[in-house]
Symmetry: C2
Subunit: 459 residues, 2 copies
């Protein structure tokens, strides 16, 4: 990257915020995956106008621009495989306005999602989307990937909360979409188009998000099932009874064994699956009635045992199992590769059967857990990357996991996005016409292909 260009970047944002030593660049070369690639330069703008200036410089020089939040992505979406400029939005970490009358929050993209949640919860509001990365991922990254989480069954995904965006376009122009009105059909749904576009259509620098009232009560139950098929049918039965739990999480036997070995919580490891069910809301009795109704349905659907948390500490201990999933996996193998398939709810037993067969075929454990109410499963392959044949097997297994999801009417990603890693499977998943339509949209909005190139689309 020539020094004249670096000089222009420094002019735009200040010397302190343009990084280009090898050590600095290395920090921005990876994310939550195994992939890495060095940028040519990293820029840390403080305002939308600075982002606009950087993108204008990049467009003139035809240099790739890769937006980045906290780098916690699970699909290598923020890794600069073609070099160029990484624009880190972490300095844009201010909450700009909480409008209590309209229940909205206006925020810069670099705010960590948990910080945003804490700020609104302090005054009785609630921003529901809760990806596992919530304590370190940014709201901008969440929007770029349309992140989900356990609570999304009841409350919807990130995109369901986006009322408006500030987006720096590929030519540096600043687009403002949406506004405070809840309903808006004035023109195309640009909020929806930019949400989940993984930085390939524009850089999200600010967002206006919808809030809801903070639920005042929550009740949690753990149901253990000898049969995975029964557990899966229970998920449908609960939803069809008109109960919409705040969470409806499934762990298969591999996951339960894994947690029990790590934590000794007294979980029954002799069951095919467990469900963690949580109801929440504004009214204590209603929340209780709902969890009791859900528990009843579990029993009627063949649960071996159903435990209702009696108080907050029992509730915390039930969630401890689910939340310690990742650390428990780390105990079992040096590496894990977590996928994010989503299938029709009815296909959960079939896809789990197929995932087990993949595990058996390759001789590497696959631990399965996820958001059963949404059909969104996270099969985690456990392996040792230092063993080249295990790494090779893991990569082959990922391909077979995607194939299994597609075979039962599912798709590649429920909340992680496509990034670089799932590109080879996109045409198989969506068909060539869909890919072509999406390419036309990409080309219309980024004709020079400078925005996060090499992502989403098959090579």
């Amino acid at each position: 990257m020539d020094s004249h260009f670096i000089g222009q970047l420094i002019e735009a944002v200040g010397k302190k915020y343009v990084l280009h030593t090898p050590e600095d660049l290395a920090v921005y070369s990876y994310d939550g995956t195994f992939a890495e690639s060095l940028p040519d330069v990293v820029v840390l703008p403080a305002t939308t106008e600075q982002v606009s200036q950087i993108v204008k410089l990049a467009a003139t020089a035809r240099v790739p621009v890769v937006p980045r939040g906290m780098g916690s992505g699970m699909a290598a979406g923020s890794i600069p495989f073609k070099g160029g400029i990484v624009i880190s939005l972490t300095r844009m970490n201010h909450i700009l306005e909480i409008d209590t009358e309209n229940a909205t929050v206006r925020t810069e993209a670099g705010v960590v999602t948990a910080d945003l949640q804490a700020a609104v919860e302090k005054i009785g509001f609630f921003y529901p989307p809760d990806p596992s990365s919530i304590r370190h991922s940014t709201i901008g990254g969440n929007i770029a990937c349309n992140a989900g989480g356990p609570r999304c069954l009841k409350y919807g995904v990130t995109g369901d909360y986006v009322l408006g965006l500030t987006v720096v376009l590929a030519d540096g122009r600043i687009l403002k979409t949406g506004g405070k009105p809840i309903k808006d059909v004035t023109g195309y749904d640009l909020n929806g188009l930019f949400t989940g576009s993984e930085g390939t259509l524009g850089l999200i620098t600010e967002a206006l998000l919808r809030l809801v009232a903070k639920p005042r009560y929550a009740r949690t139950a753990l149901a253990e099932f000898a049969s995975l098929v029964d557990a899966s049918r229970t998920v449908n039965a609960i939803l069809l009874a008109g109960i919409l739990p705040a969470a409806l999480e499934l762990m298969d036997q591999t996951a339960i064994v894994c947690i029990e070995e790590a934590l000794h919580l007294g979980l029954n490891t002799d069951v095919e699956a467990s469900l963690i069910i949580e109801t929440d809301g504004a009214d204590e009795q209603t929340v209780l009635r709902e969890i009791e109704a859900a528990a009843r349905i579990c029993q009627e659907s063949g649960a071996q045992s159903v435990k209702l948390a009696g108080d907050e500490s029992e509730r915390a201990s039930l969630w401890k199992a689910r939340r310690s999933m990742s650390p428990s996996l780390a105990r079992k193998a040096p590496n894990k590769l977590g996928e994010d398939i989503t299938v029709p709810r009815s296909a959960i037993p079939e896809v789990i059967k197929r995932l087990r067969a993949i595990s058996a075929k390759h001789g590497l454990p696959v631990v399965i857990f996820g958001h059963a109410g949404d059909g969104n499963l996270h099969p985690n392959i456990l392996f040792d990357k230092r063993q080249p044949e295990q790494w090779q097997k893991a990569e082959q297994m990922v391909a077979e996991i995607f194939e299994a999801a597609l075979a039962v009417g599912g798709t590649l990603s429920g909340e992680h996005g496509v990034g670089m890693l799932k590109r080879p499977y996109m045409e198989r998943a969506l068909g060539s016409i869909s890919i072509d339509v999406q390419r036309h949209i990409k080309q219309a909005l980024d004709p020079l292909n400078i925005l996060n190139p090499g992502k989403i689309f098959p090579a």
Copy 2:
């Protein structure tokens, strides 16, 4: 339209389904507005493949294609102002599959929405979106306009139920989007892009829709407020208390007077506003507790009276007021012009003040009602179209109503769409950069501009 071209259309769909006599064409020249324009030919295809063939012929001949459901649109979106082919999708009126395990329905675009609802309700499911036109509008038209309705406060708008679409593109190719998985971030959100695009990006021929469990109980209340500001604040107070009513409808004094004069229901006409509040759900006690809590909030917020419907017949009579709004208006004046602005909830009192000033300035009544929880108001101008100066005034008032909405941070449409009528206000509402981005998308997907030309975009 030359006879060779007509012959090709007949070859595609059969002689019976190609209409081109003046009497036949007249039937397809209007919608729910005052606008009209004749097509050159009307074609009634029976399958997606036939739609594809028609569009291919149109693309070759560079003839406009205007999709049409039941012609109940409120923005002249389905009127063929540039002539060409009207493709009526009313023969594609089959429900293809109700998947009870996954709670989805696959349907052709020409199914009337109320018929779809009845079919799924028969087996315990619920398709919530409920535009006023529900008994005669089609699901395809609802998706093309992203239609709303009173229940959308709790349940979301049409787009929130779209899991997948079959779309005939501008070159006749058939695109399939989405699928049965509830969560899906695999590529750009094409469901969202085509929903609400008013036939300008593709023709929706089939849809896969999400269903929910049918609520088993509903309770309704009517609250009368001496002060409109109090009524408006009450809306916020109810939502902030964590109560999400199935409906939260506002009628201002002009609307109450209008209904009372027509129906003699015993409504107090000496109040500035009334709210109709409904809660619903799977659990009788919960639904009751919620309506009682909402009623309490109304009282605490200054309601002059709050009536809770004791039984189903009292409930029906409360809804009668809201539902007889349109016929009541017809009694007052030969014509009405209904708008569809949406504003931040906090701005409802201010925008109503402005609407009243517009009414006073021009000397024509403006009746105001709408979905207060969403900030979506329907100001209806009452006038006599036979009096040219009244028609002129009404058109001027529409411009001022949009100006009032924009001035308080609102926008042009919450559920009707832009169509032809709101085009002049689009640039003012969205800004030139947004219009430019949308034009680029339109051009990318319809380079010949044959799909519903002259809609959405400013001339």
